[in-house]
Symmetry: C2
Subunit: 331 residues, 2 copies
DNA sequence: GACCGACGTGGAATCGATACCACATTAATG
DNA sequence: CATTAATGTGGTATCGATTCCACGTCGGTC
């Protein structure tokens, strides 16, 4: 970074003081028409770009919101970020993205990093909940919103994982399915791992359907793990007639397995996922899934941050989002 | 942002001067063991987080590389960013993402924005080339690398669009196709719009195949536009026996159209895309496509930035990346 | 003609760090 | 024993902006 032109240079060129230049640029205080013109002319000619750092340092506001993602390259994250960005940009804020590569310790590390950059607020797309994380967040006395998990004592925006899951299972049951297999994920991700499983179990119980232990399988969010879980499900003595995978990717992995084994979908096996990914629409047969309205989730999360920035203290506020079942050819 | 603890507070608590605290934290200069311990203890106890802004301001290095994306939410961009991040993180740099929502004027705006934040370098995932952009880049006297387009006078990393395209068409020809339809995009995107079309045309010409004007259709990167382009192609008097779409999404849109019209793929119509998206692997029939190794592209781009940061001036250096055809069920 | 408010402008302090310089103190060398 | 080198520490200027305060110059009012 070579020596850039500073406000001092502009002032000299315009024949005024730094103060006056600042006033012109920030449009406050009294400035004569003549001085204003001189300043703007100098700014133009010199290609002056103010230093955001100096400004932040003096004003203690950076105009930046930090967003911590589990991974950059997921469709869900992309959509959420789009929603967040749209909303924040409208209000003059920029976003600074960091990602944790799914490592819990990096969440804390990233919070510190963002604080060192003086972000005005932090949005965390949470994938787990542990005490150390909560402690770190509570020490962070800037606006903070978690999305995706309910974090104790932290303003959170959550998907309605339990009811979405419950609805899916009920929908399958209403189509006559009684043996429904389940592909979940590990419980450290409370929303996806625990709530979605509980929704499944409770729906089965409510309808007096027993769940064979072999019907509950686990994956790790990848296509492959969905494929493998489906292998295990189809090997059951009492093979299910439907598979509910808690993510589209795993559901699509399962579809691949079923195709290879010539198990017809949906005739012999119905399949349901969650996420409303692009993929879900374009696989054959088109996958039934649940739309979580990720962009909207991002927007709402951003709004909560904005409210806090405006001074409202909405400590520990919780928002539960809505969802929508999308029934396609796979059921 | 409340008043954070500063280096001054730490110094007072540790009973030393600010200078000494700085020395401990940056591990330079002479510091006694005793002083060091006192400082570290104070830092720990007070939860001191240094202000990156103050540091940047003084040292003129931010440790941040700006990355300008056309859109956040595309698979290609995600992959590239992953590659960039991996490489830069290894070297102690962070990335600051901005997106242009595909608007050319926002590219320039974002460059200025990043400069105001004193980024040490900029990576631009370019989608177009215009003189104003080039001017802005050339005024920007910090390390700069463009990815995806060859920009005159700018260090660029490019995909081999022409030859990839050429290879696809040759591959189709070698399978006996003589009437090959093309779905392109507008020419303002030189790499995708011009080079890929030229590859197609030249391959056809080399093999003495004529191209009916109706065989060349255009879309706008979306599924829908691919669908519509396929509608027009199938309505041709002399319908092609193969469709080459310059992106996977448009190719998959085309597949959707063909399925609706009961045109068998690949028996009646072969389809080829570019991008090696997740989608391409999971649609039915699986889409033949070209892998551009996006992560690797990101890594190489990052390396070029790093080299420039280390002082090498590699003005106007060009790197052309390799690619790989992936033949699947759609041909 | 003294006073007051509206304008218009600049000087100087400040934000939180780093870096240069000056100044001790101690150890090593001839 | 004097001189140099190595080790440790703090004061102060500096980075590039904003902001507070002080100080002019008007014109109008009582």
């Amino acid at each position: 970074m070579k020596n850039m032109t500073t406000i001092k240079d502009v002032a000299k060129r315009a024949g005024v003081s730094r103060t006056t230049v600042s006033r012109v640029l920030n449009d406050n205080g009294y400035v004569s028409q003549e001085a204003r013109e001189q300043v703007l002319k100098a700014v133009q000619e010199m290609g002056y770009i103010p230093s955001a750092h100096a400004k932040t340092m003096r004003t203690k506001r950076s105009g930046v919101i930090g967003v911590i993602l589990p991974r950059i390259s997921t469709e869900t994250a992309s959509r959420v970020v789009n929603g967040i960005e749209e909303e924040l940009a409208d209000n003059g804020y920029q976003i600074l993205l960091t990602n944790t590569q799914l490592k819990p310790e990096k969440e804390i590390e990233n919070i510190k990093l963002l604080r060192s950059r003086q972000v005005d607020g932090i949005i965390l797309l949470a994938t787990n909940r542990n005490q150390e994380l909560l402690n770190t967040i509570n020490e962070t006395n800037i606006p903070f919103v978690a999305l995706g998990q309910e974090l104790e004592g932290v303003t959170s925006v959550m998907y309605d994982d339990y009811h979405a899951s419950y609805s899916i299972v009920e929908s399958l049951i209403s189509k006559g399915h009684e043996r429904i297999g389940f592909i979940g994920v590990q419980e450290s991700d409370h929303a996806v791992g625990v709530l979605r499983k509980e929704g499944y179990k409770d729906a089965m119980k409510t309808h007096n359907l027993t769940v064979d232990n072999n019907w509950i399988q686990y994956g790790d969010f990848t296509f492959e793990s969905g494929y493998e879980a489906a292998e295990r499900l189809t090997a059951c003595a009492e093979m299910p007639t439907a598979i509910f995978a808690v993510t589209d990717r795993m559901a699509i992995g399962a579809l691949g397995c079923l195709r290879e084994r010539n198990i017809q979908v949906p005739e012999e096996m119905a399949v349901y996922g969650i996420g409303a990914s692009d993929l879900s629409k374009h696989v054959t047969p088109a996958l039934s899934t649940v739309d979580y309205f990720n962009e909207d989730a991002g927007r709402q999360t951003a709004q909560l941050i904005l409210q806090q920035l405006k001074g409202k203290t909405l400590e520990d506020k919780k928002i539960k989002l809505s969802y929508r079942l999308i029934e396609r050819d796979s059921v």
